[in-house]
Each structure stands twice: as C-alpha cells, then as structure tokens.
C-alpha cells in the first residue's frame, strides 16, 4: 500500500540512472569488494525510504492517509539528516529537514508534533484494521491482495532481506519497468526463501516497485495456511495457463524451473544448477512474446545447509525430502532460523522472445532457449561466487 501510494506523488524519486548494474548495496552492509559506486549509491537507496518516514518531510503530504502506519519502525527519524540534504533531494524538503526534532517554526498549529506523527500512525493502523475487518479491499482473480502484501509481508521480509541477509542487488535495469517479464532464477536453500527475497528485492529496489508473481509447486497449494499466504502474496500454481494469463496481463512472473530438485539438493551440490524440467516456462514466454530475465541468486544455499536427506521419513510425510541441517532437527524450532549468509542477486540481460512467438511448440527452440537461460544463470553464479569468497562475510 505504502509504496504504490507513494509512486504517483513522486516522492519516491529514485533516479533511474542510479540503479546501475553494480550500485545499490543494501543499507549499512558495506560489501567491501564492490568498491565502485559505494558512496553515492547507498545515499540514493536510503534516502527515499527514510525521507518518507522522516516526519517533517511527510508534513506537506499528510493527505495520503494510510502511509505512516506501514513505515516500518526501525527507521529512526532523523537518523539520516545528513543524507537528507543530499544532491537529488528537492531543496525545500531539505530545508525542513534541518529541524527534525526541535520545535519547527513553520509547522502546523498543533504544538506537539511528535505526538501528531504517532497519532497519524495509530489512525492509519486503525483504518487499516477497519478496512480489513469490513472486507473493504480487493483481491485479483489469482487471490493476490496487494494491500495485505504491502502492509504485512513486505515489511517483514524487508528485515530479513536487509538486516539479516545484507542483500546486494545488481542488474535491476534488465527488469522491465512496466509490462510483462519472466524472471527465471536458481532455486536453493531447503526452504524456498530465495523466492521471497527475490520478490522483496524487486519491490523495494526496482524503480517500478514491481510485484513478482511467483509460480509455486502444487505442494505449496496443497498445504493449508501456506497456500493462502502464497496466493495472497501473488503466487499461483506453476502451470502454463496461469503463467500465460499473468504474462498476458503484463505482470512480472517469477519462476524457478529446478523446482524441488533445486531447493532439496545437498550442501555439497551447492550452486550446481539442476535439470530444468520440460521447459514449460520457455513456452509460456514464447506464447506471450515475453522477455526472459535470468537471475542468479547467491546466498540461498547457506541458510539451511542440507547435510543429509532422510528419504524414508520424507516418504512417510509425503514430502519431496526431509532435510538434516547443522541445526535442524537437533535444535527444534531454533533450527528454523536461517543462517545469516551474505546474499548477492544479479539480474542478467533479458532474452527477447517476441520474434519466436510461432515456435512455442517447437521442442528444439524451447530446449535451446532453456539451455541458454540455464547457462547464463550458472555462469553468473560462478561470477558472483568469486565476488563473495566468504559466505558469511559482511
């Protein structure tokens, strides 16, 4: 809600050019090896986020109701006052920014400004609660609930994404700002956290703040609760009719063709891409003429390093695998905490398919394209791994 509300007002003005290939390190991560663009990039990334939270900046735009409630609480107002006076901040805003805590001379008539800020937060929170309880929100035909996703899931994932995994994203300019795109990634990590981190990266860092519509295995939709979380955050069953419908509607679709072979592989096989199935994702892209954007995700393999797979137990529980990690199942629920590995995500140049629309049923074309995507991801994975010698580094 927050992000989509802000877009039209232009307060979220990340300059498109700054989202360069290897800029955009996550907040206070300081990945030492990517020395280039270290200084300006974090500013550009940090600034809009906090300027939206920063109370004085918000003052001129109080009309847009529900915003403040979804700001998340770890952003202390005033933390980046020096950043706030950065180059691409509009001048008047920076001027207000000078006095974030003291009594602002030109503020509204009410004296207690900090209280007002919290008032607005509480009001927005209550309004959100009322809308939810009255059912006054929209879901699309796949069950996607943008309001809930923005207000609940993305703020949670953002913590994981930024503070726990210190994710760095590159190549965002390869993802279309609007219109359809098929993002194809490597799958890893025993639990499919990489899909969620990828969707957070695209929603937070991409200039179009796009929602990634994930295609999940039917096992996900077989499980109660999980299935509904998946649907409400924009997921649907991985099948060609759904993929083509989403792509036809101009959505950004995320798919992991390795499936369970990818997330359920042993730690010793980390970053080795598994077989890509029948290439159904390629034919979906070909039928709709959608560009394919390969993406390599490094870091997912270390969050739950799978040392062994207890197959009989998996069969008993009707799961594709039963993982044994250094912490699971030994530490019980504590074993569910992912290890804080360092994540790097790189989007590769898109592969256009508009000229191949007629060959969607040609297995040769489909397999060749799937192979090309696979090679690209594998190659990029190796490149990223060289950049990250220590999996748990800063």
């Amino acid at each position: 809600m927050s992000r989509s509300d802000e877009r039209p007002e232009g307060r979220y003005d990340v300059p498109l050019t700054v989202a360069g290939p290897d800029a955009q390190p996550a907040r206070r991560n300081g990945h030492r090896r990517t020395t280039k663009a270290a200084a300006p990039a974090p500013a550009a990334r940090d600034e809009p986020d906090t300027s939206a939270t920063d109370e004085p900046v918000r003052a001129p735009a109080t009309a847009d109701g529900p915003d403040p409630a979804d700001r998340h609480p770890d952003e202390v107002p005033g933390r980046d006052v020096p950043v706030g006076s950065g180059a691409d901040e509009p001048e008047p805003v920076a001027a207000i920014d000078e006095s974030p805590t003291g009594g602002s001379p030109e503020g509204p008539a009410v004296p207690d400004r900090a209280g007002d800020h919290w008032d607005r937060k509480v009001a927005a929170g209550l309004a959100f609660l009322r809308r939810r309880l009255a059912g006054e929100y929209e879901v699309d035909e796949f069950g996607f609930d943008p309001e809930l996703t923005d207000a609940v899931f993305h703020p949670l994932l953002r913590r994981l994404y930024r503070d726990w995994f210190r994710t760095e994203v590159t190549g965002l300019e390869h993802v279309p700002v609007q219109g359809a795109g098929l993002v194809v990634g490597n799958h890893s990590g025993t639990v499919a956290l990489d899909a969620m981190i990828l969707s957070t990266a695209l929603h937070d860092q991409h200039p179009g703040h796009r929602y990634l519509r994930l295609l999940g295995a039917d096992l996900v939709f077989r499980m109660p609760v999980v299935s509904e979380i998946a649907r409400k955050t924009g997921g649907t069953v991985a099948c060609n009719p759904d993929a083509e419908r989403l792509l036809g509607g101009g959505e950004l679709v995320g798919v992991f063709p390795e499936g369970f072979k990818g997330i359920g592989k042993l730690y010793s096989d980390r970053y080795k891409l598994q077989r890509f199935g029948r290439g159904g994702f390629v034919s979906a892209a070909l039928r709709t003429g959608t560009p394919i954007v390969p993406v390599a995700i490094v870091g997912g393999e270390e969050i739950y390093p799978m040392l062994a797979d207890i197959k009989p137990l998996a069969r008993l529980l009707k799961l594709p695998y039963f993982p044994v990690t250094p912490t699971f199942p030994w530490l019980g629920p504590l074993g569910m905490v992912p290890l804080p590995s360092k994540w790097l995500i790189e989007f590769c140049p898109p592969i256009p398919t508009a000229h191949l629309t007629d060959s969607a049923d040609d297995p040769l074309v489909v397999f060749n394209l799937a192979d090309q995507v696979r090679e690209t991801i594998q190659h990029t994975l190796h490149k990223l791994l060289e950049r990250r010698p220590d999996p748990f580094g800063p």
């Binding site: 009322r130 059912g135 879901v139 035909e141 796949f142 299935s227 069953v237 099948c239």
Partner: protein, 357 residues
C-alpha cells in the same frame, strides 16, 4: 433488453423444472417476451403456491421427463430449456438417489426426446462451474477449454460432468440443433434462496481452517438475462456465466458482517456427512471442495458472444447483503464507531497527560 427482431426467436419453448425458483422465473420471463408464442412449463410436481402468480402466462404440464417425447412432437416445439437440476440432495425427497435420478437420468431422457423431435432448433442446458472439478493442480482461472483434472468428490459435480457428456453426444447426433451449455457460478441475489445464500445468512459461518478460497457469484437477474438471450438469440457453444472479479471467502464473510468459524477440513467433511444423515443442512462434499479450492472462471467468451457483462461478483454480493441484513454480527458502522472511539480516547489521554505536565 434483448436486441429486437432477432430471427432466432423460437415460437414454442419448453422449460423444464418450472416447479423450482430458477425454472419458474425463466418461464415467466420468456412468457413475457412477445416474440415467443407459447411457453410450456414442465415439471413432475405441481409448482408451489409461491410461483402461481409468476406462472399465470405459462402453460403448465405435469410430466415426467421420461414421457416428454410425445409432447415435443405433438406441440411442434422449437426450443427446450433444461433447468431441472438438483444441486444438493434433499432428504425429504429421496436424498442423493433421487437427485442423481433427476439430474442424470432425467437429462438422458430429455436429450433422447429432443433427439427425436423433428422441429427442434434450439437446446439450452443449465450446467455449473462445478464441471471444472477441484484439484490442487488446477489453474487459478478456468476457461471453457479447461478439462477437470480429477473427478469431483461431490455428487453434483459428478452429475454435471455426466450431463455435459450427454450434451456432447447430442450435439454429434443432432448438429442442426443449436445447443448452448451455460456453466453458472453459484447464484446469489436479493431474493434467490440457494444453499450458498443460506450459508451466508447464518451469523456464524463455518469455513475450512487455513483456506481462503476465491469465490465468484452470478447475480440471479443476470443469469435470467443470459438464459433469455440464449433462447431469443443463437449462441451455440459452452459459456461460463459468472460475475467478473473475485471475492475471497473471508472477505465475503466480513462484508456480510458475519463471523467466520474455521474448522479443520476432515472435521468439516465429517460434519457435513453427519448433518446430511440427520436431515438438516444440505452441505455436501461439493460445498466442502468449493470452500477448500475456490473456483474462478474466465467470462470473456460470454461477454464477446452475448455482448453482455453480468454485474461483478462484488456487486452481486452487495445486493445479497442488502437484502439479508438480519443476523449481522459486525457492521461497518460498528467498526467505524469503534475506530472513532479508540482515536477519541487516545486524544483524551494525551491531552490529559499534556495538562498534567
């Protein structure tokens, strides 16, 4: 309301199932259309007293579907609208056995009679979106081409598959007859009384734990309109009829001001079976499957072919809410008032604190 002067409008129309809500309304509506000369309502039982006014311009014949052949030939019938389907077993009228008898055997007999009716030009069959079954591997949105992945558990779903199979056979044998199959989403509206409207009328609504299915409804008046156009115009083929848009079950319950009571799925199936055996409640596995999987269909083919868009699912549901405001537990006004109250008390506490300091 329908484009006038269509050459497709038939002279003599037979409507089956006029003893029920949908059949009675369709027959009355067709009888009011000046382009149609005669409307004959067929039902094995005498229509209930609530429909007598409605059906005063309809010729009523008390007839089993099995002995329809003579009628079709004698009266030179041009079109048949088959609406005599039972969507849930009624323990007072023979339960599931009678339901299957009526749905499957009745349709077989009707189609056999239609096949031998020389002047028949048009056949309209009521079907249901239950034809798509329910499976975890289903696509999110069904188009008319989607095949069911599994045979449905529920009796109605299985009946619907059988009925559509017989209509396919009929189409092959009588290619000269315009056959229209309308797959309706669950009906809802201000006056309709169906299993689903009764479900949403309860103050506490049982749902399946951990599932929030996507639902679609079609407003009863829109269903009438589509059925009317199917008879007055020529629209061969199979069409999904549903209100565009989606409501999730939890959202629908909240909008209706009811309270959801999540029940574990095995428990719900058992409870449904128990309730059926005890003779109250008509929830079957059809409903349980719907509330686990949800069902959303694509209606673009209907919109293109008929030039008509039913009102959206949300609008249809709103109409239902307005007519059923008894038994509401939580209204929007209550919520808004509660919000105001909390805000007000916060303000008061804060001003009190300020005064003290």
């Amino acid at each position: 309301m329908t484009p006038g002067g269509t050459p497709g409008a038939p002279g003599v129309v037979v409507v089956t199932g006029v003893g029920r809500y949908l059949g009675a309304h369709v027959a009355a509506r067709l009888a009011a259309d000046p382009r149609i000369e005669r409307v004959i309502g067929v039902d094995p039982t005498t229509p209930g007293p609530e429909f007598t006014d409605l059906l005063d311009r309809v010729e009523r014949v008390r007839l089993d579907l099995g002995s329809l052949a003579g009628l079709l030939a004698d009266l030179d019938v041009d079109a048949v609208v088959h609406l005599a389907l039972v969507s849930a077993p009624d323990p007072q009228h023979g339960g599931r056995t009678a339901m299957k008898e009526q749905n499957v055997i009745g349709t077989m007999q009707l189609l056999a009679a239609c096949q031998r009716a020389p002047r028949l030009r048009k056949l309209v069959v009521r079907s249901s979106t239950a034809a798509y079954g329910a499976s975890f591997r289903d696509p999110a949105v069904f188009t008319e081409e989607t095949e069911p992945r599994e045979v449905p558990r529920g009796g109605f779903g299985r009946d619907i598959l059988d009925i559509e199979g017989y209509v396919r056979g009929f189409r092959r044998r009588r290619p000269d007859v315009t056959a229209t199959v309308l797959r309706f989403a669950p009906f809802i509206g201000s006056t309709a009384d169906t299993t689903l409207t009764r479900y949403f009328s309860q103050p506490f609504v049982p749902t399946v734990f951990g599932r929030d299915p996507r639902l679609q409804f079609v407003h009863f008046d829109d269903a009438l309109e589509v059925l009317h156009r199917s008879i007055a115009e020529d629209h061969p083929g199979t069409y999904n009829v549903a209100g565009p848009g989606v409501l999730s079950l939890s959202q629908a319950i909240r909008r209706a001001g009811r309270v959801a009571v999540p029940v574990l799925e095995p428990g719900l199936s058992g409870a449904a079976a128990l309730a059926r055996n005890l003779g109250f409640g008509r929830y079957g596995l059809d409903q349980v499957d719907l509330f686990v999987h949800g069902r959303v269909v694509d209606t673009s083919r209907l919109e293109q072919e008929y030039g008509f868009t039913p009102r959206s699912t949300a609008a249809a549901f709103d109409d239902f809410i307005r007519a059923h405001h008894g038994g509401v537990v939580l209204t929007r006004d209550t919520l808004a008032a509660a919000e105001q109250l909390v805000m007000e008390s916060i303000r008061q506490v804060r001003s009190a604190v300020q005064e003290r300091s």
